[in-house]
């Protein structure tokens, strides 16, 4: 199905992903997520993706009562070595990965492991919704072009 098989590159908006350093505190990363309106942050070491921290990780952290967010390094609570893809991989591969792995955010990296963006499940929903609308299969409401508040969805 040619229409569904686009390259991930077509879904990246060109904006640099939100990143943090391994030694940053959980508090600073959460504040960054709030300020930047994102649901995930890539954690870098020597400019390469070493971890990911998402709103699910925020939930896990906040549920715990042991440590204060300003006292914990993000490297100790992030998901290490997340599954990454290249911008030349297909969106179908990413959808399969999201389904099997339970991911909502996939880091997109170059050949050296440097981040180029994040493929968010919101973009996948947009793609599938557009396919449905093109075929006249869904109830299509005109959008007003307003910016989303992107934290990866509700």
């Amino acid at each position: 199905m040619r229409e569904i098989q686009k390259k991930i590159r077509a879904f990246l908006d060109g904006k640099p992903p939100v990143t943090a350093a391994m030694s940053d505190t959980v508090a600073s990363v959460i504040n960054k997520m709030r300020d930047e309106h994102v649901g995930c942050v890539l954690i870098l070491d020597s400019e390469k993706v070493k971890g990911i921290f998402t709103d699910r990780d925020v939930l896990k952290f906040m549920a715990g009562k042991d440590a204060a967010a300003e006292d914990v390094a993000i490297s100790s609570v992030m998901t290490r070595d997340p599954e990454c893809l290249s911008a030349d991989d297909y969106i179908t591969y990413a959808i399969n990965m999201m389904s099997v792995g339970g991911f909502r955010n996939i880091p997109i990296v170059d050949a050296d492991g440097r981040p180029q963006g994040v493929l968010r499940v919101r973009k996948v929903v947009e793609h599938l919704s557009e396919l449905v609308s093109e075929k006249g299969l869904g109830e299509h409401s005109p959008t007003d072009g307003s910016e989303w508040f992107d934290v990866g969805g509700g």
């Binding site: 997520m33 709030r34 649901g39 990965m97 339970g102 996948v124 299969l137 989303w148 990866g152 969805g153």
Partner: protein
């Protein structure tokens, strides 16, 4: 119409009630936030439906609310009622409405979850983006499964990351 188009028509017109696999986590308005977080953590879920005694939907509380609404520097929220931090009167979808409509609502509202309700606004379940992705992947095996193998992929049982 191509075979792939026919599959897409079928997916789009499937009622949402057919594809939801997991029972929702339901809590009352006065359940304290700590208890809600503990339940979400224990069940590896990111959403709780807030209901009244008749199971009518009052609100939704998700990891987005945890990120955006719980103060980092003050732990008073732990014992506060979840209704102080939930989204009141959330968008929802009826049991017989379709995946196509659900996708449209999720896309327009930037939602990852849609509560499913009956005609009397009683919460029946919750539709997540993952339910839709799983269903799409199941229906397009040659497009999704005939892919380069990835030895690192394994089912984690958790939805996040």
């Amino acid at each position: 119409m191509s075979n792939a188009d026919q599959i897409f028509v079928e997916i789009s017109q499937t009622p949402v009630s057919k594809i939801v696999r997991r029972k929702p986590i339901e809590v009352f308005e006065n359940t304290c936030v700590q208890d809600v977080l503990d339940a979400l953590n224990r069940e590896h879920r990111g959403v709780a439906l807030v209901v009244d005694q008749e199971c009518r939907l009052l609100g939704i509380f998700t990891e987005r609310d945890v990120l955006l609404r719980l103060p980092l520097t003050d732990s008073g929220w732990r014992e506060a009622p979840v209704c102080d931090f939930m989204t009141h009167d959330p968008h929802s979808i009826r049991t017989n409405e379709t995946i196509g409509l659900a996708l449209n609502r999720m896309q327009e509202g930037a939602f990852r979850h849609l509560p499913i309700v009956d005609e009397e606004e009683r919460a029946i379940g919750v539709l997540s983006v993952r339910d839709i992705l799983d269903y799409v992947v199941d229906h397009f095996p040659s497009e999704f499964l005939n892919l380069p193998p990835s030895p690192n992929l394994e089912t984690t049982g958790e939805w996040g990351g």
